[in-house]
């Protein structure tokens, strides 16, 4: 994939901006009104997954739970119709220690068949609250550390541009989970952090090329330099996205139910991350007034390398 002519990426940046704003506004709007459908990790409560020998009749399971003192139980199939997932809201009378056992013995009857315990998860409300705090903190710390590294390695405009691009990715990815009402749990949080890593990877590659071209192409304005750099890195950006998306598709389709949310977040995040590294990071840099002068100090060292290599 070799593009002969420089693509005028930056001439479309207003449209891209508008699109980004729209996506962010939708995400924030949905997060504000609808919120996130937090998983058990964050809300606390009890989750029990069981497997039956034969397809399970959810109505019967519900009725049985209702009569056993769990009228608030949410019962659904998980993956296949032999697997049943039961959720219970956090309870104040906290006999959580024995709660799951009570449920298990209630739904393993002659009528329903033997229920094989596959998974029990119980998170106390205080722990859920802590995990939520920790998760948010992790995201912030990650962004700040990256900001510092990029600022140190490049320049503050690049750093600000790339961190804003990351925030853009995170907001839109999380927004998608809100819009589609997909459960947001610890695994998804890990995926969002991985998206930060991936998107940054992309952004760094582009920024690196922009810096290099500013040094090499002295007669050309910043906008054109950015266009050239984006064009030069485009094939790499696309190929890496393709390979990553390929493995994520494998994960999504064969990785099983437990990893679904994780794969969804990453798939979407990689697409958004690829887009943002092309448009958001560099056009923000441009808006912040990136210019050759900002990158001059290290020129001497780079030229030395060049000469050495030609010899």
């Amino acid at each position: 994939m070799w593009i002969k002519n420089t693509i005028q990426f930056m001439s479309w940046r207003k449209i891209a901006m508008a699109m980004s704003f729209l996506l962010i506004a939708t995400s924030i709007g949905s997060l504000a009104t609808k919120g996130l459908q937090f998983g058990l990790d964050f809300t606390g409560g009890t989750l029990i997954e069981v497997g039956y020998e034969q397809g399970a009749d959810l109505e019967k399971v519900r009725a049985k739970l209702d009569s056993s003192g769990f009228p608030d139980a949410v019962v659904q199939h998980f993956g296949s119709n032999t697997e049943v997932l039961i959720r219970l809201a956090p309870r104040e009378d906290t006999n959580a220690n024995t709660l799951s056992n009570q449920v298990l013995s209630a739904i393993s009857t002659d009528e329903l068949g033997h229920a094989d315990m596959r998974r029990i998860e119980f998170v106390g409300p205080s722990v859920g609250e802590e995990l939520k705090e920790q998760g948010g903190l992790a995201m912030l710390v990650a962004l700040i550390c990256i900001l510092i590294y990029v600022a140190f390695r490049f320049e503050w405009r690049f750093a600000l541009g790339s961190v804003l691009a990351l925030a853009h990715d995170v907001i839109i990815t999380v927004g998608l989970f809100s819009v589609l009402s997909i459960e947001f749990d610890l695994n998804v949080l890990a995926a969002v952090l991985a998206v930060i890593g991936y998107s940054l990877n992309d952004t760094i590659v582009v920024s690196d090329r922009i810096r290099e071209n500013f040094r090499k192409l002295r007669e050309i304005g910043p906008e054109e330099v950015i266009n050239i750099s984006l064009t030069q890195t485009l094939s790499r950006t696309m190929i890496t996205s393709v390979t990553t998306i390929l493995v994520l598709l494998a994960l999504f389709f064969v990785g099983g139910e437990l990893i679904h949310g994780f794969a969804t977040a990453l798939l979407f995040g990689v697409v958004i991350g690829t887009y943002s590294s092309v448009y958001v990071a560099s056009s923000l840099g441009l808006m912040l007034g990136i210019s050759r002068d900002d990158l001059i100090p290290t020129v001497v060292e780079k030229e030395g390398e060049d000469q050495d290599a030609i010899m």
Partner: protein, 617 residues
């Protein structure tokens, strides 16, 4: 000359790759289901026990692969989990009370590999099945107990020094004592400061002749740390009683304990035993008191009213505790001559002395055994934690027949099962403060197995897709990149197997899949550079040289930032997420090595120093 590696670099690559293969190898052999038999309380396992187990298994016609006695452990290996589980019951019956039979997975690699330190990757609980508990210690109760202890201490000390006081009551997190006159106050202050250097003891301004003794910040922390440490020790004892191979009991933060029990089947019993706060108190019965008056609320001073566990009969006991469960060193259950369950108790020497001193003067008097258990009240403290309350019931009142020493028995227990549990709890020790399970994650064995299969499939599929794509897109260089990718996977697994703390979890497997997808990025960067250089008119050798050189700093920058994200994930994540962070971080390091150094070595070895007209890229 361009594109030539010195010999040592080729050798280094070869050695690293060989080591990677070697340490990844044990994973191919996998693990055998096994039984692990050890003796309780540090006893010895003899060859006779091995023979016993062997003959019991043979008698039941149960096939096993091997049976061995090493490091004071009997290890029996089986073909499948079904025979392993059946064998556990047989072995438990054959050996009886003094041995712990635990089910486990044992690495199945040949001996020479094990001797080289090779082991398969440790699997997380979500892959091998098991229980993860997070338990919280109720520090309020621990502090209350400490306060009660202080009250008792002060009482005794002041009495011994013959200092008379008017009132001795709990105050803040300590106590306060008021005296009749300044002389007593001064004497007491001197005495108490000497006896309790860690307390803040001072006369109160707003109350005359009163001094307060409270714990300072440091002392409070000490008390809490001690409570936590004590609970950890006791939970460890209990876990050992449960018969779990490779359990983990670890402190987390100021007031929490993590417990991980891999491969456990009966989680209900595990929960019951681990969080039980039962202990015993032996007290004197106040037989002079009027029971009816006491029931109506008029208790004689220094006494408390309790009820019998079985028939609800009121019993009045003296407040003073003769002995608590802390002094119990061993407890076993058996049946008395009338086939009623009983628990035989052994005491340590201090406890034996106390018991002996007390019973010597009280022959013919009744003594009560009080069963103490902390149960959640359903209410919450202002900090949002669950409140516990001590439930104390009399389980037995017996007349002291003779002077007791450090071995005696208690009766009056309902069932054999209860006697068994009580004996176990007493043996393992009582928790110093009640604990509550605040998080539980249990994965059944069937789901664990399924997770491994699905994760492996995802890795294989992802890997094959990327291989095909790279081959299609980069041809000859694609082969080089694919070799690097395969080696990356081998090194990643090798390192994961080698690092003792690294465990493979389901998100960890997802991390490997992601690493496979992202690891080729470095090669893509290099190859695209080489193509550019060719377009710019450089010769093949120059193009390769420049391609690698100029891509390097970009690759480094990109990987370091992802590495930062991985480290943060590791720092703040819990269990499985940590597993994801570990594979991601290791994957970054190994992919840098394979994508840059290994591919360069392959390229150099194949085209370096020769005349090449066209690159197959």
């Amino acid at each position: 000359m361009l594109n030539k590696y010195p010999l040592w670099k080729y050798l280094m690559v070869l050695i690293v790759v060989a080591a990677g293969f070697l340490y990844a190898l044990p994973n191919i052999y996998g693990e055998d289901p096994a039984l692990q038999i050890s003796a309780t309380r540090g006893g010895n396992v003899e060859i006779s026990q091995l023979e016993e187990v062997k003959s019991a298994l043979n008698k039941a016609d149960l096939a096993f692969d091997s049976i061995k006695l090493e490091n004071n452990l009997i290890v029996v290996r089986f073909k499948d989990t079904a025979s392993q589980l059946a064998a556990r019951d047989i072995a438990t019956q054959a050996l009886g009370n003094n041995f712990i039979v635990a089910i486990n997975l044992m690495p199945a690699q040949p001996k020479w590999l094990a001797d080289l330190g090779g082991n398969p990757m440790k699997l997380g609980l979500d892959l091998r099945g098991g229980v993860h508990f997070l338990m919280e210690v109720d520090m309020a109760v621990a502090m209350e107990k400490k306060q009660e202890e202080l009250l008792e201490d002060f009482k005794t000390e002041l009495r011994e020094e013959k200092i008379r006081y008017r009132r001795l009551v709990p105050y803040k997190n300590g106590v306060k004592v008021s005296f009749r006159g300044e002389a007593d106050l001064a004497k007491a202050e001197e005495l108490l400061i000497e006896q309790h250097p860690k307390l803040i003891i001072e006369a109160l301004d707003n109350e005359s002749n009163t001094l307060s003794a409270i714990m300072g910040e440091a002392r409070i922390k000490e008390v809490k740390d001690y409570a936590l440490q004590q609970n950890i020790t006791i939970i460890r004892n209990r876990v050992n009683q449960l018969g779990v191979a490779e359990p983990l009991v670890m402190r987390q933060g100021a007031d929490r304990i993590v417990v991980e029990l891999p491969g456990i089947q009966d989680t209900a019993r595990a929960k019951e035993i681990l969080s039980a706060t039962a202990t015993l108190e032996f007290r004197q019965v106040n037989y002079d008191a009027d029971v009816r008056a006491a029931v109506n609320g008029r208790l004689p001073p220094g006494s408390e009213l309790y009820y019998d566990r079985r028939d609800g009969r009121p019993v009045i006991l003296k407040k003073q505790v003769i002995l608590t469960g802390n002094h119990i060193t061993d407890a076993n259950y058996s049946f008395d001559e009338n086939q009623r369950p009983q628990v035989n108790i052994d005491l340590d020497s201090k406890g034996g002395n106390k018991m002996s001193n007390f019973t010597k003067d009280n022959i013919g008097n009744p003594m009560a055994t009080l069963f103490v258990e902390y149960v959640p009240t359903g209410r919450k403290t202002p900090e949002g934690k669950v409140e516990f309350e001590a439930k104390k019931e009399v389980i037995n009142v017996a007349t002291i027949q003779a002077r007791l020493s450090n071995s005696f028995r208690i009766t009056g227990i309902d069932s054999a099962g209860e006697a068994q549990n009580l004996a176990l709890l007493l043996r393992a020790g009582a928790l110093i403060a009640p604990i509550q399970i605040v998080e539980e994650r249990t994965v059944g064995p069937s789901l664990g197995k399924e997770n491994i299969e699905l994760g492996t499939q995802a890795i294989v599929w992802g890997f094959c897709l990327v291989l095909a794509f790279m081959l299609f897109y980069y041809r000859g260089f694609g082969v080089v990149a694919n070799v690097a990718l395969a080696l990356n996977l081998v090194l990643l697994i090798g390192i994961m197997s080698l690092i003792p703390g690294a465990t493979l979890t389901l998100p960890g497997m997802a991390g490997i899949v992601l690493t496979v997808g992202m690891a080729v990025d470095a090669n893509v960067l290099i190859f695209e550079r080489i193509r550019e250089e060719i377009r710019d008119g450089r010769g093949p050798q120059q193009a390769v040289h420049h391609g690698y050189d100029s891509a390097f700093s970009t690759i480094a920058d990109a990987n370091i930032t992802t590495f930062i994200a991985a480290i943060i994930l590791f720092a703040v994540g819990t269990g499985p997420i940590k597993g994801f962070a570990v594979t991601l971080a290791i994957g970054i390091v190994t992919s840098m090595f394979t994508a840059i150094v290994v591919t360069r070595a392959v390229v150099n070895a194949s085209i370096g120093g020769r005349k090449v007209n066209k690159l197959w890229i």
